[in-house]
């Protein structure tokens, strides 16, 4: 991971910043330069809500090499009240307890590391609602 590549995504990964179209109100995560729904080019920055609903999940047994130590792990897609859907790992819960339709909270976590001395990729994961 090159530091610039990580830094570019920080507003989304660290602060859950999304772009809301000033014309039609559609919300995009991450931000875009042009609205997919109406073609407008001005946006307001908003933050995604903390709690979303799990719409599907899988337990990955054959991950890419940087996730070998965590295998098997759960990966899910949550839908948030703003209309945005996000893919992330589902953690701090046993696989058998994960159910489609459950509410999950999005939390700031370490997602992957670039070897022992490289860049640490922080971002978000889904956890049970406290």
């Amino acid at each position: 991971m090159f530091p610039a590549r990580v830094a570019r995504e920080m507003p989304h990964r660290y602060r859950l910043e999304a772009a809301k179209c000033r014309n039609c109100g559609a919300v995009f995560f991450p931000h875009r330069l042009i609205c997919r729904e109406c073609g407008h080019r001005e946006f307001d920055t908003i933050n995604i809500s903390a709690i979303g609903k799990l719409i599907s999940y899988t337990i990955i047994h054959t991950p890419a090499s940087q996730f070998k130590d965590e295998s098997p792990f759960a990966l899910g897609i949550c839908e948030f009240p703003e209309g945005v859907k996000i893919t992330a790992q589902v953690v701090d819960i046993a696989a058998a307890d994960i159910k489609t339709g459950m509410s999950l909270q999005i939390e700031f976590r370490r997602v992957q590391t670039d070897g022992h001395a490289g860049v640490i990729g922080y971002g978000y994961k889904f956890v049970p609602v406290i």
Partner: protein
């Protein structure tokens, strides 16, 4: 636009081909296609290849293949649309001939996937997903299709056995295809009990890692008789569509809009409906993919594709025969070559040369090739001219 015909085809038996290099794979298939015709000179070549760079460290694919094909200075273009690269190459070749720009076009596809480890292949293939918003979090391709499979099973009540029926059917067809990588019979129980890859998908739900290439020769229909004694196969429809490459950005996890729209565009161009199609090759990279694609193409209503397979409707003798070649599942899936090989199977079917897997009275055939988790799809429709 001029009418365009396929006058020659070539590939090799696919598999884990340690002894064959990236360039040898392609040239072997291309020479087989040229030998299938009386063509001596090619005007342009299109090659579908997803990622020669990540699999064997080789880009600049058009030039190296033109040279090794003994066609130095040939105009050559490499085409990429992830696992739909081969279908996209065919679309480019079709446009090249239809437009009048070239007369004789070689359309090929190639991927050399087994020189890297399983991890390396997982990484290379995952570049077809959203790198920052899917892959960064640990998504793999089996994982993305597993998210679709669970959503489909939750929504429509599809069962484990129904997913397995797709793999069983495609392996039954592959048994009769001498070029298939895995010519072995499967049972529902074997699929159900195979190793878990990404729950609910198991290893026998997944297409394999494959080395292979495939090639076609296209020319104007008006010149087809100069190059082949067989009936020319006319390309009558060609549709392509894209969608967001991030699965989570789609309206639904249980439908594939790029496939639906590409199919509608191809059928409209051909002046056909889905009921006119006698045989179809679809992109069954995972069992769930074949089910959702069969619905997106309009063969079955949403939620009925899984049951249709169980009921035999997609078998060789069914109403909508799907993947008579064995599909990606049994024939193998060298990603850049797959879309081209799908067209080869349809050519064999329309010529009545498919042996034990022949669909009776096949007059009109369709291919559906797909990139990523459905971020792109290309559909072609062909008939005997």
């Amino acid at each position: 636009m001029r009418d365009v015909a396929i006058v020659g085809v070539g590939m090799q038996k696919w598999g884990e081909l340690w002894e064959k290099s990236f360039r040898d794979l392609f040239v072997e298939a291309a020479l087989n296609a040229i030998s299938d015709t009386k063509v001596s000179k090619i005007d342009h070549m299109y090659i579908g290849c997803m990622t020669g760079g990540l699999f064997v460290g080789q880009e600049h694919v058009g030039s190296i293949m033109a040279d090794y094909l003994g066609q130095r200075n040939l105009a050559a273009t490499r085409v990429e649309s992830a696992c739909a690269s081969g279908g996209m190459a065919l679309r480019c070749g079709f446009v090249e001939v239809a437009s009048g720009m070239s007369d004789i076009v070689l359309v090929g596809g190639v991927e050399k996937m087994t020189d890297v480890s399983g991890d390396g292949a997982t990484y290379a293939l995952a570049t077809a997903a959203d790198q920052e918003y899917e892959v960064f979090h640990g998504a793999t391709f089996p994982g993305l299709y597993a998210l679709m499979a669970r959503a489909y099973m939750d929504r429509y009540g599809a069962t484990r056995d129904q997913l397995s029926a797709v793999a069983v059917k495609n392996h039954d067809n592959g048994l009769n295809n001498p070029n298939a990588q895995y010519q072995m019979k499967l049972t529902v129980q074997q699929v159900n009990e195979s190793v878990m890859v990404a729950d609910p998908l198991r290893i026998l739900d997944c297409s394999p890692i494959t080395d292979g290439a495939a090639a076609l020769i296209l020319c104007p229909l008006s010149r087809a008789k100069e190059f082949s004694d067989k009936p020319p196969i006319k390309i009558i429809g060609c549709g392509m569509a894209t969608d967001s490459i991030a699965l989570h950005d789609r309206k639904s996890l249980t439908s594939l809009d790029a496939v639906r729209i590409a199919g509608e565009r191809a059928l409209k161009m051909a002046g056909k409906t889905i009921n006119d199609i006698n045989v179809t090759e679809v992109h069954d990279c995972f069992t769930i993919a074949e089910i959702i694609v069969s619905e997106a193409l309009g063969m079955f209503p949403a939620g009925k594709g899984a049951l249709a397979c169980v009921n035999g409707e997609t078998r060789v003798e069914g109403k909508f025969p799907i993947n008579t070649s064995g599909g990606l599942k049994s024939k193998g899936h060298p990603v850049g070559a797959t879309g081209v090989a799908q067209a080869i199977e349809i050519v064999h079917q329309l010529h009545g040369e498919a042996g034990k897997r022949q669909v009776k009275n096949a007059k009109v055939g369709m291919t559906q090739n797909m990139g990523g988790s459905g971020g792109s799809s290309v559909v072609h429709i062909m008939e005997v001219a």
